[in-house]
């Protein structure tokens, strides 16, 4: 994926311009075109929580009110995701102590590993992974999710989070190392 300012070509440009002139239909097309990605980013940060939908709602309203200032120097997807990510991070800070497990262990753990481990071990591994994700800072979590579930470049993530690319790189290193340690047992015997 990554930053492709004109990945939808003139179609997206047209929609943005129409939406900036007040065409709600064009805004709706932009929203739906990018909905899945934006929701992945929000739920990646907030986890399985009803707050995901509140943040999504607020992000759309915020995007619409800011739309006139959007100069199209990034893709609409990046711009909207940036709004959503920042809102999700704010929400997470507010409800830090009440959140549920933020991530799920993917179904795509190696099949051998799934087969080899007992249910007890799997449960333990899941809990360990959840704990590891919980131990990541908001920004480490956001960088990891945006990198590995969206494929954004570190440069773009830096723009979204308002920090330098080198800082983003460090967040990625830290998040990867923490998760790497936790997931080590699952792959040790492969």
């Amino acid at each position: 994926m990554g930053e492709q300012p004109n990945r939808m070509g003139s179609r997206e440009t047209d929609w943005v311009e129409q939406a900036q002139r007040g065409d709600t239909g064009a805004f709706d097309r932009l929203v739906r075109e990018n909905e899945a990605g934006v929701l992945r980013a929000i739920s990646g940060i907030l986890g399985r929580s009803p707050e995901v939908y509140d943040v999504y709602q607020d992000s759309l309203v915020s995007a619409f009110t800011k739309l006139r200032g959007f100069r199209q120097d990034s893709s609409f997807s990046t711009w909207l995701t940036r709004i959503a990510v920042n809102r999700a991070l704010n929400q997470r800070r507010k409800t830090r102590n009440a959140r549920e497990a933020p991530m799920e262990l993917a179904e795509h753990l190696p099949a051998d590993s799934r087969d080899a481990a007992s249910n007890l071990e799997q449960s333990e591994l899941r809990r360990s992974t959840e704990r590891a994700m919980e131990s990541l800072s908001e920004r480490e979590r956001a960088v990891f999710v945006l990198k590995h579930t969206h494929g954004y470049k570190l440069r773009e993530i830096g723009v979204m989070l308002g920090c330098a690319e080198g800082t983003v790189k460090n967040y990625l290193f830290r998040a990867t190392r923490k998760l790497r340690v936790v997931l080590e047992p699952a792959y040790r015997d492969l």
Partner: protein, 308 residues
């Protein structure tokens, strides 16, 4: 990575994340080829990257969130219009029972007022739409929609769906989240005017959104009737079909499921619908819905014996 390997692990993380230049990546790949520990480490890093995924979201909750956002956006538009007309106090009077909303609208209005200084961008809606809709309804005698405004001296507007402004105002009325009455009258009007013009995309989407996420069962039902009338002689858009299939399988209202089934039956079916219809035929608690699903499957060419 074993103790024997002294290679830079960060470079492996960046390689796995596709963040190295071509030259750097080629160099690290050569290193990986010659180092077993690096190969193992790269393999584990790729597992780490794919082992954690965001949880799935509920499509119905997403649709509700989107609809609520659009309702709020619709409100802010009207506030903007009022600011341009110098009538902000009137807006606040109208929302007096809802102080939080009033405050929110005031902030949006003030923000807009500040932001619009020196801004030459065109207003978001036409001048004729810069007054709040007071009401919209179907006038049987005129055979048209009639829009009446709350500003004294403002003439009412009438027209059918070929009138862009009427279509826009109908859409706005449908998205008016806090007024069931106006949404009901707007849906009746759309149903009555359905044959007067090709449905505008925005209007169609607003109705589809109601089918998906309107909390009031009566309004969901009326939205399906309006959709049925709008697309009586043309193909249903994909979004509308999806919304009807979801309503058919999961709406709590028997009437809504029956209306969804009837509307789907009246239009072309697709092979993918068969699975949903089989599910409805075997599990819906309403016998009419079950038999309707079976009838539709038969029409699709599935032999009756296969359905038993």
């Amino acid at each position: 990575m074993t103790m024997k390997c002294t290679h830079d692990q960060d470079l492996l993380i960046l390689l796995q994340a596709d963040e190295l230049s071509e030259t750097e990546a080629a160099s690290v790949r050569r290193q990986v080829e010659s180092c077993e520990a690096c190969r193992e480490e790269l393999d584990r890093l790729s597992h780490v990257a794919s082992a954690v995924v965001p949880p799935a979201v509920d499509p119905d909750a997403v649709a509700r969130a989107r609809a609520l956002a659009y309702t709020r956006i619709g409100s802010s538009w009207r506030v903007r219009s009022r600011v341009m007309s110098g009538r902000i106090a009137d807006v606040l009077r109208r929302v007096r029972p809802m102080p939080e909303l009033a405050l929110g609208m005031l902030l949006v209005a003030v923000g807009y007022g500040i932001g619009s200084r020196g801004d030459t961008a065109p207003p978001p809606v036409a001048e004729s739409q810069m007054v709040d809709v007071w009401d919209i309804e179907w006038d049987e005698n005129l055979g048209q929609a009639v829009v009446r405004y709350d500003r004294p001296g403002t003439r009412s507007l009438s027209g059918d769906l070929s009138n862009r402004e009427v279509a826009y105002l109908l859409q706005s009325a449908l998205l008016e989240g806090d007024d069931n009455g106006i949404r009901n009258r707007a849906l009746k009007t759309v149903q009555a005017l359905a044959s007067s013009g090709a449905p505008a995309d925005d209007l169609s989407r607003a109705i589809t959104e109601l089918v998906r996420s309107e909390p009031q069962e009566a309004l969901r039902l009326r939205a399906i009737w309006a959709m049925d009338a709008l697309y009586e002689s043309t193909e249903l858009p994909e979004d509308a079909r999806d919304a009807l299939l979801v309503a058919l399988t999961s709406d709590a209202g028997d009437g809504v499921r029956i209306a969804a089934l009837n509307t789907l039956m009246a239009h072309q079916t697709f092979p993918d619908d068969a699975r949903t219809l089989r599910q409805v035929m075997s599990s819906d608690n309403n016998p009419y819905v079950r038999s309707g699903a079976a009838e539709t499957l038969q029409r699709m060419g599935i032999p009756l014996e296969e359905l038993r």
